[in-house]
């Protein structure tokens, strides 16, 4: 965890595209209170934009009819919400327990060498971002790496090389 409270403003108002708008309207009927839409809405923004700006949070707050501070709280509490633009390929390396025991550090070190970024950084060409994350629930096939949501299990440096070769 680091401080996630420094939001980025794009300078332009946010709005859902037609697809997310429809999804919002579908989901909102599923909950007895509109505030329940805070997490799903943040996901919709992230699907649409890849990350969540201050304007998007304000949009969600106003659309739901709640305080922007509540959306801000949720967006910073849940660490999967990207609060800044990530690389085209967002690589998450599990750092916890079983993945730790089975060599997640070698994977992080390798990625550091190969793509030149440390956990928490985005490569200058915006192709990659790297993050160490907590347990991904794939302990039986550790170590595990997630790229744009897809899981890659039983990873080692060799497999990682092959994977990186496909990411372009």
């Amino acid at each position: 965890m680091s401080d996630r409270s420094q939001l980025i403003e794009t300078g332009t108002p946010f709005t859902f595209d037609a697809q997310r708008d429809a999804e919002f309207e579908r989901l909102v009927k599923r909950y007895p209170t509109r505030e329940s839409m805070i997490l799903p809405s943040l996901w919709l923004v992230q699907e649409q934009e890849g990350w969540i700006s201050a304007e998007a949070m304000a949009y969600i707050a106003d659309r739901i009819g709640t305080f922007a501070s509540k959306v801000f709280e949720a967006a910073t509490f849940y660490t999967m919400y990207n609060l800044r633009p990530m690389g085209k390929y967002h690589i998450c390396v599990c750092r916890t327990l079983s993945c730790y025991l089975l060599g997640k550090q070698e994977i992080v070190d390798f990625l550091n060498r190969e793509i030149g970024i440390k956990p928490g950084e985005v490569s200058s060409d915006k192709m990659f971002s790297l993050e160490e994350v907590e347990c991904l629930g794939h302990c039986g096939s550790a170590p595990v790496v997630q790229v744009n949501g897809e899981f890659y299990e039983n990873m080692d440096v060799e497999k990682l090389k092959e994977l990186l070769a496909t990411l372009n």
């Binding site: 949720a74 509490f77 347990c135 629930g137």
Partner: protein, 423 residues
Amino acid sequence: MEVKILSAKFDIEGAHNIEVAKEHGAYATLDKLFTMDPAEVTTIVKDSGLRGRGGAGFPAGLKWSFLPKDLDKPVYLCVNSDESEPATFKDRYILVRDPHMLIEGIIICCYAINCQDTYIYIRGEYTSQVKILQAAIDEAYAAGYLGEKACGQDFRIDVTVHRGAGAYVCGEETALLESIEGKKGQPRSKPPFPAVEGLYGCPTIINNVQTIASLPFILAQGADAYKAHGTEKSSGTHLFGISGLVQKPGMYELPLGLPLLEVLDKVAGGLREGRTLKGVIPGGSSTPVLTPEEAQTVTLDYESMAEHNTMFGSGGIVVLDDTVDIVKLVENLIYFYHHESCGQCTPCREGLGWMLKIVKKIIRGEGSTKDIDLLLELCDNIEMKTVCVLSAACTMPVRSYLNKFRHEFEAYVAGGASSQSAM
């Protein structure tokens, strides 16, 4: 040693599709279900001895019976699929390989507790898994198992998937409720318990995925058939996740009560070549570690674990061999719990970060014996002083490492940074 009750369809190609699942018996219990009185269903579940498979092991049927009887509010069912305890990955198999078993279980539970709205809270990290689950739910709606006239009955069942977004604490049932309500996942003080005042202030049952998924078998085969597996007090089977430094890590369905070391040897292939056992984490990262000596006598059930001053937990077993640096492992664990502390209660919020910095200081070779003692004292000072047990989930195992492997901490203190490579 393995049995196939919950995992019966796991190896069937395409069993996440409703047609394949139905060919192999999915939704077959429903005809029987609707001939029964809801109270009868609860009784069968009680009789089966099914205990909550999320980690606490609370009897499932008993939990349901805490719902107030004369209700003027809706009842909610929340299926806990947050599965975020390190070393736990069992529910993922159900979500991906047999989601219709879960949906069938939800229908059974909804009928038993008279619930119309179910929320499946799935951890945000399960990105591809949530798609499979949602597709299965959509199939169930299309087939009429869910919706306005669910299963052809005069009974509505709606199932909504609610995605978390990276917060371990949301596996705690009241944090999960807060999260569905759109808030930060900060656990609530109890009482009131969710069965009385839960989601949106209404009576709510929160059950783990595996618990709910066990219901079709129990209903179909009866309580006795379920109790035929396991021990008297820990009945049935469990999806054990075995990971760490073993030959064949993975998910294995086993009856409760088997000897731990035998399982590690025969099921998980034993230790890697030339290695010796240093310890076993028996039920997820929050359970106190067992030494090789303790591991020799423990069996995989709630009672034996308690006798060994640890917990069955989520059944996520992690094997530690002689290559493991316990001090760095502890750093890894405290890092996790500090990272995941919701930040609500003072002792957990301030204490875990303090503990992490002390361990780092020890690893840097700047620590003293006093720091080891301080860590131990902080475990006591934090534990059970907070709204939820997240802090205890850290302090209980950390204390066990400090007590059982103190010499490793002392070596760092004595040797300084030069003798150890900092990670």
